[in-house]
């Protein structure tokens, strides 16, 4: 069985290295096909492991080698396959296989084809390390690895100023959060003496509550950065500068869910500190609403989907914070499927529209892009949470959790967000696929994507539809590791009212979106309409002025501070000191080079002079050593 583990873990690395071999050469199909095939192998291995874990309830734990062993610190390269990590492995390998195959078509005309696959597979490898590691150090390696690959891939088109800016923004934001995470890990080591999950969590119940709270907070700060939670959320929308497969894989399905994974993995810790959990849940609910509101008006297709991702991550954190870890993980899985599908569909649309991102410039595409239309609609239905698609099971479950746990504020926020989700999803679908064919004004001739890209997307489509059916079997599997709390509304009447009410609300939102955005008089907004001049619209389209705020009050202030340090301290103090030292030597050399007349006799005289100087020093120090007592007395008499 270890063979399957190592295959699952290392075949992405092999694929990455293989593609890297062709990094500098022009596009070769094989550089895309081999990594994709290897990822398929990785997926199959993960599937075998899933069957094993599900069927027998066994977990696999291997120690590949010792990484660090100094004193009390012992960190192995250990990997664990249990109910939680196998879920993540399946999600990661499945989505990345699909995305790889899709990208063969999507990146077909790109010059960096080979490079792209190298990065993408490297990302998958890092992600596998992240989810499979059995200790915090390995998790951190994977954590940084995915951060690096994310940076590489967001800035994949590095010649675009905005892309490299977005890449740097994402990297720096993550770095800020990683500091928190690192402090959290240090705290864990400090107080438990180990970084192995099992041992560390075993010690935690005996620790002081305040320490545990700090641990929980700092680890959550790390999760906040990776999962783009408020206030570190701005990078995710900007990260859409990367190629669309990257957005689908990294910024929707896998990397951004690492934060959720961390919280789920650390559930023994968060169970001990319910107040931090409540904070996480509240923040999650807030982010869900906050991001959904921004998605309402945005005019960039990919950004809308990115905000929706953010909002769904909020849901996951809400569930995880309330202690429903398995629900969070289940939603993570379902969300990965339909969100990746949505992104890949958006990629098709982008391709068809020649990289046009404004849905207002599209419309009526359903006639030319039937397959994509179908997939995106189903993905949106799943996202909106309509029975019987995946989103219904996972998202309604989170609502139920909030209700059952008597957090009615969180419940109502999430319910309202569900309606918003439905609205903005179908606003997008309506604008892109229905209504007038506005693209004709711009002289674009859209075409459907390659067949194999659509075929590649079909597993996701299938899973987006049926993933909900696995709810109970999944619960049974995961409950062996996670707290097995089933959430049932006590009275049947309330349950049915809630469920049907939610469905009605969502359907109403969808209908409203269709009515509003399929009408004939939708035109490309030009900033004149009444709505666009309203305060709320401006607030939302400018993302609550948060990026502006960051730019004005943090980046600029920092820049000014740096400027001051540069001109005042670096140039006037540090540089001047260094230059001064160099000048002293230069001048000394210039002055004393007269001594070097080349005349042996003069040199001998200098030599004797030097000897005399050394001898006098010897005398002075000898006397000082001999009479040190007296000198000290004399000096203290002078008051030194």
């Amino acid at each position: 069985m270890e063979l399957f583990l190592y295959t699952a873990l290392f075949s992405p690395l092999v694929g990455s290295l293989f593609a890297a071999l062709f990094g500098a050469s022009p596009k070769t199909k094989i550089a895309g096909i081999v990594p994709s095939a290897l990822l398929g192998v990785s997926f199959l291995s993960s599937l075998v492991l899933l069957v094993l874990v599900m069927g027998t309830g066994l977990t696999l734990h291997v120690e590949m080698m010792t990484w660090m062993a100094t004193g009390d610190l012992y960190i192995p390269f250990g990997f664990v396959v249990d109910q939680v990590s196998v879920t993540m492995m399946i999600v990661v390998t499945l989505v990345s296989t699909v995305v790889h195959v899709y990208a063969i078509g999507y990146m077909d005309h790109d010059k960096g084809f080979n490079r792209f696959f190298s990065y993408l597979s490297a990302f998958v490898f890092s992600m596998m390390i992240l989810v499979m590691s059995d200790n915090f150090a390995g998790l951190f390696i994977g954590w940084e690895g995915v951060g690096l690959c994310s940076w590489l891939l967001i800035g994949f088109w590095y010649h675009k100023e905005s892309a490299s800016w977005a890449a740097n923004e994402a990297f720096i934001m993550n770095r800020i959060a990683d500091l928190g995470m690192l402090i959290g890990i240090f705290l864990v080591y400090w107080n438990t003496g180990t970084l192995q999950y099992k041992e560390a969590f075993a010690v935690m119940p005996s620790l002081d509550n305040a320490i545990l709270t700090w641990m929980g907070i700092f680890l959550f700060i790390g999760a906040m950065g990776k999962s783009a939670q408020f206030p570190l959320h701005t990078w995710l929308a900007d990260a859409m500068e990367g190629p669309t497969p990257v957005s689908a894989l990294i910024h929707a399905a896998t990397m951004v869910t690492a934060g959720v994974y961390l919280v789920v993995r650390a559930n023994p810790l968060y169970n001990l500190i319910p107040h931090v959990g409540l904070f996480i849940a509240s923040l999650g609910a807030f982010v869900a609403l906050f991001a959904a509101s921004m998605a309402l008006v945005n005019r960039d297709m990919k950004r809308v989907i990115a905000y929706s991702t953010l909002s769904q991550l909020g849901y996951m954190f809400a569930a995880a914070g309330l202690g429903a870890y398995w629900v969070a993980l289940f939603h993570l899985m379902a969300h990965a499927f339909f969100k990746a599908l949505l992104f890949l569909g958006a990629g098709n649309v982008m391709h068809a529209m020649h990289d046009e991102l404004d849905p207002f410039k599209m419309g009526g595409l359903s006639k030319v892009m039937k397959g994509t239309f179908l997939m995106m609609t189903i993905a949106s239905v799943a996202l909106a949470g309509i029975f019987p698609l995946a989103g219904f099971f996972s998202k309604d479950l989170i609502l139920e959790v909030a209700f059952v746990e008597h957090h009615y504020i969180i419940y109502s926020v999430l319910l309202f967000t569900a309606a918003l989700t439905a609205f903005y999803s179908f606003r997008l679908v309506a604008l892109i696929f229905h209504g007038e064919e506005r693209y004709k004004l711009f002289g674009i001739h859209p075409h459907e994507a390659y067949k194999f890209m659509l075929v590649a997307m079909s597993p996701l489509l299938l899973l987006a539809i049926i993933a909900g059916a696995f709810k109970m079997s999944y619960f049974e599997m995961v409950s062996k590791l996670l707290p097995a709390t089933e959430y049932h509304v006590h009275s049947a009447a309330t349950y049915w009212i809630m469920t049907i009410g939610t469905q009605l609300l969502v359907i109403l939102a969808i209908a409203y979106a269709y009515k509003k955005y399929t009408s004939r008089d939708i035109a490309v907004p030009d900033g004149t309409s009444k709505m666009e001049n309203s305060f709320a619209y401006k607030l939302l389209i400018n993302q609550y002025y948060i990026p502006y705020f960051y730019q004005e009050y943090i980046v600029k202030a920092y820049r000014e501070l740096s400027e001051v340090f540069w001109t005042k301290i670096d140039q006037k103090v540090v540089d001047a000191t260094v230059d001064g030292i160099a000048n002293v030597f230069y001048q000394t050399g210039e002055r004393t080079r007269v001594m070097q007349s080349g005349n042996l006799s003069t040199m001998l005289k200098w030599m004797v002079a030097g000897t005399v100087a050394l001898l006098s020093l010897a005398v002075v120090f000898g006397l000082a050593a001999r009479y040190s007592g007296e000198i000290r007395v004399f000096l203290s008499g002078l008051g030194v």
Binding site: T602, T611, V612, L615
Partner: protein, 191 residues
């Protein structure tokens, strides 16, 4: 009393001889007074009971080194006065006296009060025997190294001084000697 007389006598003589050696403008005077000074120094060694060292001093310095210098001087035009263009006499004098005073202070200061334990006490078997014992036990390796060094120095001296030793002027014809001189001249011009 005898020791004091001997010390002051030889001290006076060595200082005088060495003074002549460094001040005279005649190379031959300098050489002779140096040789005399060396011999007088060996007298101190005898007074101090270092008989072996005294003998070595006479043999090596007055015998070998002085002979070497004498031979060396034959190569140079010693009769020619080397014009000793003096710089600042005060500097020379000042530096030497200063260093002398400092040395006296340094050397004599710790000895006055310290008592050092002898590592290799002088026995009563006679100086040469004692020296031999120490030299071939504790100092065997330095002694051998010194021997090798002397050998290397000898080879170096021969190589440096003895270029063209394979040529014998007496066996060469006049023409050949003239040609060699011409070549030498050309070389000098080139260099």
């Amino acid at each position: 009393m005898f020791e004091a007389v001997a010390f002051y006598l030889f001290a006076f003589l060595t200082i005088t001889m060495f003074y002549i050696a460094v001040t005279t403008s005649q190379a031959l005077y300098a050489l002779s007074s140096l040789a005399a000074g060396m011999i007088f120094i060996s007298a101190f060694f005898f007074i101090l009971g270092a008989d072996f060292l005294g003998a070595v001093q006479i043999v090596v310095y007055s015998g070998a080194v002085m002979a070497l210098y004498a031979f060396g001087m034959m190569f140079f035009d010693t009769t020619r006065d080397v014009k000793e263009k003096q710089g600042n006499k005060a500097i020379i004098l000042g530096l030497s006296i200063l260093s002398a005073i400092l040395l006296i202070v340094i050397v004599s200061a710790p000895i006055v009060g310290n008592n050092i334990e002898a590592l290799y006490p002088v026995g009563n078997a006679g100086n040469v025997q004692e020296v031999g014992k120490v030299l071939f036990t504790k100092y065997l390796v330095p002694f051998e190294v010194a021997a090798v060094m002397l050998l290397v120095a000898m080879v170096a001296g021969i190589v440096l001084a003895g270029k063209k030793m394979d040529l014998s002027l007496t066996l060469m014809t006049e023409a050949e000697i003239l040609m060699m001189k011409e070549e030498d001249k050309n070389k000098k011009v080139l260099s």
